[in-house]
Each structure stands twice: as C-alpha cells, then as structure tokens.
C-alpha cells in the first residue's frame, strides 16, 4: 500500500479529517459524534435529493434523445431547472385522502419505500472516505434493506382499496421476490471471488483488476444477470408491468397524489441509482480509478481524477445502459417475466456460482494467472 500514496489533490479526505480534528479539539467525544452523525445524515439527504433531481433530468433528456426529440429545454439553460420546478410543483399539490381506504397504512406505505431506498443509499461508498456505513456484511445489508421497499408497495396496493393498485402490487411482489433471488446470487458470485462482504475491502481488492475482469467469464455472466435483475427490481424498463399504464393506470401508486406520489417517484429513481452504484462497487471497482499494475505514470494521471468523479462516472454509464435497455425492449408479460427468472436466470446463476468457485479454487482468475496484487 505504500507505493499507492500518490498525491490526490482533489480528494475530500483532508477536509473531513480537518473537520473531525476541529470538533474533537473543542468538544467532548459524545458531542463530536452527535454533530458528525447529524452532518453526515444531512449531507446524505442533500445528496439523495440532488441525485434524484439530476437523475430525473438525465432520464428525460436521454429518453428524448432516444426518440429523436430534444427533451426539456425551456426552464433554464438546456432545461436544467425543469426538475426543481417539477419538485416544487409536486410539493404544492394537494394530498388527496381516499374515502374507504385504510388511512394509516395508506400514508405509511410511501415511507417504507423511501426509507428502504435511503438506507441502501447510505451504505454506498461514494468515494475515498465518503462512506457512511461500512459494515463487514455490507452486501448482505444492502440486499436485506433494499427488499424492505416491497412492503411499501404491498401496503400501497392493499390500502388503496383499488383493484388496479392491488393487481399492480401483486405483480410487483411476484417480480421483486423472484428477481431479488437472482440479484442476491449474482452478488454472492462476486463475494466468492473477492472473499469478503465488506464494500471497502471489496473495493481495495479491485485496485489493479476490477472484479468483472478478474473473474472473466463468470463475472461477466454475473454482471449481466445482476443488471437484468436489478432492472427488474426497480420496476423499470421492460419490467415495468406493475405500473403498466395501458392495463393498470399506474399500478400500485394509482391513488397517491402530491408528495406521497413524489416519494414513490423519488424512490424509484434512487433505486435505479442504488442498483447502478452497487454494480459499480461490486463489479467495476467502485470509486477506484482505472489502473494497470506497473504503469506508474498512467496510474498517477488516473489518480488525479478524484474518486467521486470515477464513482459517479461509472454509475452514470450503468444508468445510461439501463435507459438504453428501457427504450429498446417492449414490456414483458407477467408469465414471460417469471419464465425469464425461474427458467433462465436462476439456473444459469446457480451454475455460475459453481463455475466461480471452481475458478477461484483452481486459481484461474486473472489475478492468479498474471500475479496481479
């Protein structure tokens, strides 16, 4: 690790260290921690909202480009103020209370969704020392917490007292439960490869050889399966049948209005970001730059680009991929959807884990073959 200490002028590590030392110098331990927790929470919330707004903007623009349109271009330069304007609009709208609905569950449901997505968001390493929660079982934590969101979907469907909502929620449940399995197995394949469930260790292990290269064929299959199932988990793209507007008006969030609908909207976009960033962290080396062992000059140049830029760049590429898929393929039927999971993805995934175990045991990963650190 000593030879890795290149100068990295744009990293936030020093700033965070300085802030920590400043607090510790003047305040007792308890207050230092309290203030830091609050600051971290506020920073995460701010990033959450900003990322969501940027994603909505990017989605609308890229969607437009795929359809030979221009997209939002009136509010502000290149339409940049469009999503803040939409946010203000949705905040000002009335929250309609449905008569003959289960009022408590109806209003509790969006919070399950948003809390689940926010709790996963907090576990993502955004850059060097920009990592709020670093559990030693990070991968497990992410899988477990992100699946809480389905409770929100179910509650919404049930408490709305609306057949469309109910059918949408049921479809969403079937979809989520099936594809969560695939996503989990794809991540487990990489856990086998990297030998850890902690995100920080997993990233450090990918310094000179990203996991997607390290496990070559097996990693690639796991990567593709993770992207497909992640896509399905977020109810997007060709898998958006829980909210298929031609059949179910808007699916499980048909009856929601105002900011309650906004929570679902926000959570959906953030789940897309969370899936892309977990794929980045697990498969594409997270916030680490692209480096090749031995090419010190090249590595130094790559290191000048700050880690959070690398992270968001890689994540954006994956998000672009998801949009590309979304505007290429037609929506699946529910039986096709379940066929894809149970007859194709799951068996392939199980075989893939066995293949990965064999690769690791027989020393056929790229790191073993070429002696990379």
């Amino acid at each position: 690790m000593m030879l890795l200490n290149y100068s990295q002028p744009l990293e936030l590590t020093k700033l965070i260290k300085w802030f920590d030392n400043l607090l510790r110098a003047s305040l007792p331990e308890f207050w230092t921690l309290l203030i830091e927790f609050v600051v971290v929470a506020l920073a995460l919330l701010a990033v959450y909202v900003v990322v969501a707004l940027l994603l909505i903007y990017a989605e609308r623009k890229i969607t437009a480009f795929f359809q030979a349109r221009i997209g939002p271009n009136r509010a502000g330069k290149w339409g940049l103020l469009q999503s803040p304007a939409d946010m203000i609009k949705i905040l000002l709208k009335e929250i309609i209370k449905i008569s003959r609905s289960d009022r408590f569950l109806f209003f509790a449901a969006p919070f399950f969704m948003i809390v689940a997505s926010f709790a996963t968001f907090a576990a993502i390493p955004f850059g060097q020392s920009l990592h709020a929660i670093d559990f030693n079982i990070g991968v497990l934590y992410v899988i477990a917490i992100s699946s809480l969101g389905i409770i929100g979907v179910f509650l919404a469907g049930w408490s709305s007292n609306n057949k469309y909502s109910m059918i949408g929620a049921m479809r969403s449940g079937a979809q989520f439960v099936s594809y969560e399995l695939s996503a989990g197995f794809a991540l487990m394949t990489i856990v086998v490869l990297s030998g850890t469930m902690q995100f920080s260790e997993m990233i450090e292990g990918q310094r000179y050889c990203w996991n997607i290269f390290n496990g070559h064929i097996s990693s690639l299959i796991a990567f593709v399966i993770y992207l497909i199932s992640g896509h399905a988990e977020t109810n997007r793209g060709p898998f958006d049948l829980p909210e298929a507007e031609s059949e179910l008006t808007a699916g499980y969030h048909t009856e929601y209005s105002g900011i309650m609908f906004g929570y679902y909207y926000l959570a959906e976009y953030l789940n897309m970001f969370v899936i892309a960033s977990i794929a980045t962290t697990v498969f594409l080396g997270g916030y680490l730059p692209f480096e090749i062992q031995g090419w010190d000059g090249f590595n130094q140049i790559m290191n000048y680009i700050p880690s959070y830029v690398w992270f968001f760049g890689k994540t954006f590429v994956l998000i672009f991929l998801s949009l590309w898929v979304r505007w290429s393929f037609p929506r699946l039927r529910i039986d096709q959807l379940l066929n894809l999971e149970w007859k194709y993805l799951l068996p392939i995934n199980l075989l893939n884990i066995v293949l990965m175990v064999l690769l690791v045991l027989t020393g056929l990963t790229l790191k073993d073959l070429f002696g990379i650190l």
């Binding site: 030979a68 221009i70 271009n73 898929v325 393929f329």
Partner: protein, 167 residues
C-alpha cells in the same frame, strides 16, 4: 436432448435479437432531432400551401378586387361567418349596378371548410396560411376583407368566370 438444445438455442436467439434491438436504438440516439422549436424557428418554418388559416380577398396594385358581391359565399357558409354588404350605384352610362360595400368574415365562427372559396364564381377570395391569428378580444376576430375604397376589377371580368368554371 431436443428440449435441451431448444433451451440453449432460445437463449442464443433471444440475446441476439435483444442486441440487434439495442443496436437499432443506439443508431436512433444519434439521428437528427425532429423537434420543431416554434417561436425561434419562425424564419425557417414551412407551412403547407393548402393549410387554411385566414380568409383573404386579394387586391391588386390598383386596389381592385374580383368580388361581384353575388353573395354565393355567404349562402354556402354553414356557420354564417360571412356577411356580404352590397350597395346599388349608378354607372356613367346610367345603368344601376350592385357593388360590394363591406365584406366581413368572423374568424371565430369559421370551421375553415373552404366551401366559400370553392363556390366563388370569380375566385375573389382564398385561404392564406398565416396561422398566427390569436388576439386578446373576440371582437377582433371579425375581419373586414375588402380594403377601404377598393373597386371591382373591370377588365378581367370576362376571364375570371371562365377560369372558375374550368376548375
């Protein structure tokens, strides 16, 4: 064995067709954008000649039009948007003659069916494609089509009906 090979063939053809689809959308991403940005592109805007927006009565350089005030357009208008006011004058050789006084057209009631233009025996009126006709007051939609002090075009009087019959 047959079903197994079918399974793998299915995966292969499926992935292949998905990749073909993605290549198509990738090309579509770089095509020229077709969006018309209206108020900015006024200069290059192309409106079809047959697009009917505003009824006009063409006047030549002598401030003369072709309307004989026969009132056929007024009779044919399904909504009663046209009002032809005529007056009787006495010509130099002592004959009485009906000429056009005021020709008004209510754009707010018009359905742009073109019946007035089709039936006009003198081809005196036609639809132009100036489509920016919004005004702040409904009364401003009532247009007077003949200019102040305009006259009937005398010479071409014989030519015009023949033309319109040929049509």
């Amino acid at each position: 064995m047959n079903s197994l090979s079918k399974y793998f063939l299915g995966i292969y053809t499926g992935v292949k067709s998905l990749l073909v689809g993605m290549s198509v959308t990738w090309k579509e991403l770089w095509t020229k954008k077709v969006t018309q940005q209206y108020p900015e592109n006024r200069k290059t805007l192309v409106v079809s000649d047959r697009f009917r927006c505003e009824l006009t009565m063409p006047h030549d350089e002598n401030n003369e039009h072709a309307c004989t005030a026969c009132g056929i357009c007024q009779m044919n208008c399904p909504n009663g948007t046209i009002d032809v006011q005529s007056k009787m004058i006495e010509t130099e050789d002592g004959k009485k003659k009906k000429i056009l006084d005021v020709y008004t057209w209510d754009q707010g009631m018009c359905t742009f069916c073109n019946l007035c233009v089709i039936t006009c025996p003198s081809s005196a009126i036609k639809f132009e494609n100036n489509f920016e006709n919004s005004v702040f007051n409904r009364r401003k939609l009532i247009h007077r089509l003949n200019n102040e002090g305009s006259k009937l075009r005398e010479k071409k009087k014989e030519v015009k009906p023949a033309e319109s019959k040929a049509e």
